[in-house]
Amino acid sequence: SQTIHQWPATLVQPVGSPLSLECTVEGTSNPNLYWYRQAAGRGLQLLFYSVGIGQISSEVPQNLSASRPQDRQFILSSKKLLLSDSGFYLCAWSVGEKLFFGSGTQLSVL
């Protein structure tokens, strides 16, 4: 069966520091991969999605970037974090119509 791993679960970073969040999917090939952010107040915002290695679509211009170095690996990065980057970051995957989420990373930028 397919599983998705996302780490770390929580992260506290100072303003101006770099960020790297990693997500890997097991048990499937050629998944579509996604990064979402959920701020306080519940809404889910799509940040990036990828339909293949090296193919990244950005939904919202901001301080973040994404990369897909391998078929089942998706990385969210920032060179310098801002206070406004705080939030709950969720990786997700799909093959076909249904979307499945990882367990999320709670990022606090102080």
Binding site: Y34, G43, L46, F101
Partner: protein, 110 residues
């Protein structure tokens, strides 16, 4: 882009009660999914239901695509049903990725 509105925004129930959550969308859709986010942040895919009716245990969902709404029914609610329920859609025109509603927060008290 497509607009997704969920109602009610908040709902408090006694254990054992039934409830209906609603999702309205502004355009025709080719993909509609319901998710449950538990109090620890994990998002679970409940249904893929662009049209018709599906049931899974105490949960069922109905989408009336021609009238642009979907309903999620929870029967005999349990405290473990607490959390936020999201509806997400892909419209037939425009974006190919899911657009999420703001969710319905459900609290089931014992």
């Amino acid at each position: 882009g497509i607009q997704v509105e969920q109602s009610p925004p908040d709902l408090i129930l006694q254990e054992g009660a039934n409830s209906t959550l609603r999702c309205n969308f502004s355009d025709s859709v080719n993909n509609l999914q319901w998710f449950h986010q538990n109090p620890w942040g994990q998002l679970i895919n409940l249904f893929y239901i662009p049209s018709g009716t599906k049931q899974n245990g105490r949960l069922s969902a109905t989408t009336v695509a021609t009238e642009r709404y979907s309903l999620l029914y929870i029967s005999s609610s349990q405290t473990t049903d607490s959390g936020v329920y999201f509806c997400a859609v892909v419209g037939n025109s425009g974006y190919s990725t899911l657009t999420f509603g703001k969710g319905t927060m459900l609290l089931v008290s014992p």
